[in-house]
């Protein structure tokens, strides 16, 4: 079984390119961190022999062995709790939750044990919980959720949702090296659809820093995850209408990089937020609240949100497409805001 690393390297050599998919970027980050630090180990359902439901860890077991790549029994509370215990006693576990929807089954251990440990005991809990989230794959209400906002209401956690392969690799490395519990959602729609050149050398992306993915003058569009691509698409289309969009990719959902957001809004005077998560108490509400406080004087229009509606993620293609914010929706909202 050839490993992701070998495959990517082989592909790269042939093509004289270093293009990696979002999924490969994540695999590479895991692989390299496992090589770098022998305190790192992976645990989760079907990650060993099977290589993971999405094949993120294909070939890992052969290379790293059973002590580093642990196939866990079907018990999210049990193995998340165990990972916390391992983290408190010197190791650096990386937990895979097969689908982000199932993270709810380990909820209590995350929010009550992991998150509140350092504040009370000053002990680090260097654990990463990574999981494929998000919709778009016709997977219905229980394999499509975007649970990131829940965890962004839990002090003590850090929450990361990368939107590009480059960021995914650099942020996952930072997450693994971080001494705090990090919840790391990988948008499963991007896994094999998004490719990018990755540098050869080891690099990290700081947790807590947003990234301006496109500079613009007229509107600050704040987004993250799979909506980054749609936002960029929308920005391309809007150019022809004379609207210059600044696209901020949050990357880290909690703690928020409020400074970058506010600086941008001070420049553009208009703000909109785009996310795939539902509207009420999605990250957009926190972003909007910050802008409405700290950048009020600069605002030249209402703060708009383009989000999914407040419903479970429906399965049927027509419904799912209607559920998800589309490029058209973004273009429409931006045009309206521009003309305000």
């Amino acid at each position: 079984m050839s490993t992701v690393k070998e495959k990517v390297n082989a592909t790269n050599k042939e093509a004289q390119l270093k293009q990696s998919s979002y999924l490969e970027a994540i695999s590479l980050a895991l692989w390299e961190e496992l090589e770098r630090d022998d305190r790192v180990f992976l645990i989760g359902e079907d990650i060993g022999v099977y290589g993971g439901a999405f094949k993120v860890t294909e070939g890992f077991l052969d290379h790293f062995g059973e002590d580093r790549i642990i196939d866990a029994p079907l018990e999210e509370t049990g193995f998340i709790g165990a990972a916390i215990g391992a983290a408190l006693t010197g190791l650096r576990p990386v937990v895979e939750i097969q689908y982000a929807d199932f993270i709810s089954c380990g909820w209590d251990q995350i929010v009550n044990v992991a998150a509140k440990m350092h504040y009370r005991s000053f002990e680090p809990v260097p654990i990463v919980i990574r999981s494929p989230s998000g919709a778009g794959l016709r997977a219905g209400p229980f394999h499509s959720q975007s649970p990131e906002a829940w965890f962004s209401h839990v002090p003590g956690l850090k929450v990361v949702v990368p939107g590009t392969p480059y960021d995914a690799k650099g942020l996952l490395k930072s997450a693994i090296r971080d001494d705090n519990p990090v919840i790391f959602f990988e948008h499963k729609y991007l896994y094999r659809r998004l490719k990018e050149d990755l540098p050869d050398e080891d690099y990290t992306i700081p947790i807590g820093k947003a990234d301006v993915k496109r500079f613009g003058e007229d509107i600050s569009l704040i987004t993250y995850g799979a909506m980054l691509q749609k936002s960029l698409e929308a920005a391309d289309r809007l150019i022809s209408e004379g609207i210059s969009m600044e696209i901020i990719d949050l990357r880290t959902i909690y703690p928020l990089d409020i400074e970058t957001i506010i600086d941008s809004v001070k420049k553009t005077s208009k703000a909109m937020i785009v996310h795939e998560d539902i509207r009420t108490l999605g990250i957009g509400s926190e972003v909007a609240a910050n802008i409405a406080d700290a950048a009020f004087e600069y605002l030249d229009g209402p703060i708009k949100r383009v989000t999914a509606p407040d419903i479970p993620v429906p399965f049927s293609p027509i419904l799912e497409d209607a559920f998800l914010p589309q490029t058209d929706d973004i273009v429409h909202a931006a045009t309206e805001l521009f003309n305000y």
Binding site: E45, P73, C105, P314, P317
Partner: protein, 319 residues
């Protein structure tokens, strides 16, 4: 227990129908005709059908991803199963739910969720409801082997045992949880052993013999109905297909599958029924034809049904 002829034939019919439905689901999936994932219970028909047949009207049943055919004896129309996989508005979820997560409370069938085995507690709650309302009904729930590792399994069994509820918990031990074999999921040899932790009756039965399944589960159902409390039944079988449509199941040794193919619950049962004269060659042909037609009709229904309307997207979140 003597199983009468009518029931014997029904067991046969529903197993055949169930398999035909799943075979069709698989081919439609491979052809890319349905947006849904598929979770096939091939090889496990004796358990799903045998258990469902052991229930009466007013009882409830809680299935997992792999047990959709258990709905058939409870009255679920095959049309609904295809419409669901197609994401059509004619399905019980009106296209909101995928795959096997459909139900119909008027038939006592819960619309379950993916999280395993979340409907063990819910089913215990239905049993509580029957007890509190002094209704003579029973709540039956399925779980896989892997899902017995989860806390919900433990809490449900403990709850049902402390309150002595009319519940039957069936575990389909098909030896794998996705790619994870029993040995990595638990240390006990028999899952029914776990009943001891709740001072509950537990037994392990041959899950590929539909009469054994029917009789044993019927006994547990009758016991529950008689106010004698819950039972855990482990039915041993083998998952003959990948976890879901895209899983080639490379982790399962071919010999193991070969061994279990010989134990096919339908082939063996058909042979037996023929041998004992319950079923003739002609009847088999008739059943085959009927089933083919039923499946054809169901697929046609699903194909022809409309998709849900975008305008209805946000309806029904609340009552």
């Amino acid at each position: 227990m003597r199983v009468n002829k009518k029931i014997k034939i029904e067991l046969y019919y529903y197993m055949r129908l169930g398999r035909a439905i799943e075979e069709r689901l698989e081919s439609l999936y491979r052809q890319g005709r349905m947006p849904s994932a598929i979770y096939l219970g091939r090889g496990q028909e004796a358990i799903t059908v045998g258990a469902a047949m052991a229930l009466e009207d007013g009882d409830t049943i809680a299935t997992t991803h792999r047990d959709v055919i258990a709905m058939l004896p409870r009255g679920m129309d095959p049309k609904m199963i295809f419409a669901q996989h197609y994401g059509k508005v004619t399905s019980p979820t009106k296209g909101r739910g995928e795959a096997t997560y459909l139900g119909d409370m008027s038939k006592g069938i819960f619309t379950t969720v993916s999280m395993l085995p979340d409907f063990y507690p819910v089913s215990a709650g239905a049993a509580l409801s029957f007890k509190l309302q002094k209704m003579p009904n029973v709540a039956l729930a399925f779980s896989g082997d892997g899902a017995t590792s989860r806390g919900d399994f433990h809490e449900a069994l403990n709850f049902a045992s402390v309150l002595q509820l009319p519940a039957v918990f069936v575990v389909e031990n098909n030896h794998f949880a996705y790619s994870t074999p029993n040995s990595k999921e638990m240390k006990v040899d028999q899952i029914s052993t776990r009943a001891i932790a709740y001072d509950m009756e537990g037994s392990t039965i041959d899950g590929n013999d539909v009469l054994t399944v029917y009789e044993n589960i019927k006994k547990a159902v009758d016991k529950a109905r008689g106010g004698k409390g819950p039972t855990l039944i482990e039915a041993v079988t083998m998952r003959m297909k990948g976890h879901s449509g895209h899983d080639p199941m490379n982790y399962v040794p071919e010999e193991l599958l070969e061994k279990w193919r010989k134990k096919d619950p339908i082939d063996n049962y058909q042979r037996r029924l023929k041998k004992e004269g319950t079923l003739t060659k002609e009847e088999i042909v008739r059943v085959s034809e009927e089933i083919e037609k039923t499946v054809e009709d169901a697929v046609a229904f699903a194909e022809e049904s409309p998709f849900p309307r975008e305008e209805d997207l946000v309806l029904d979140v609340y009552r």
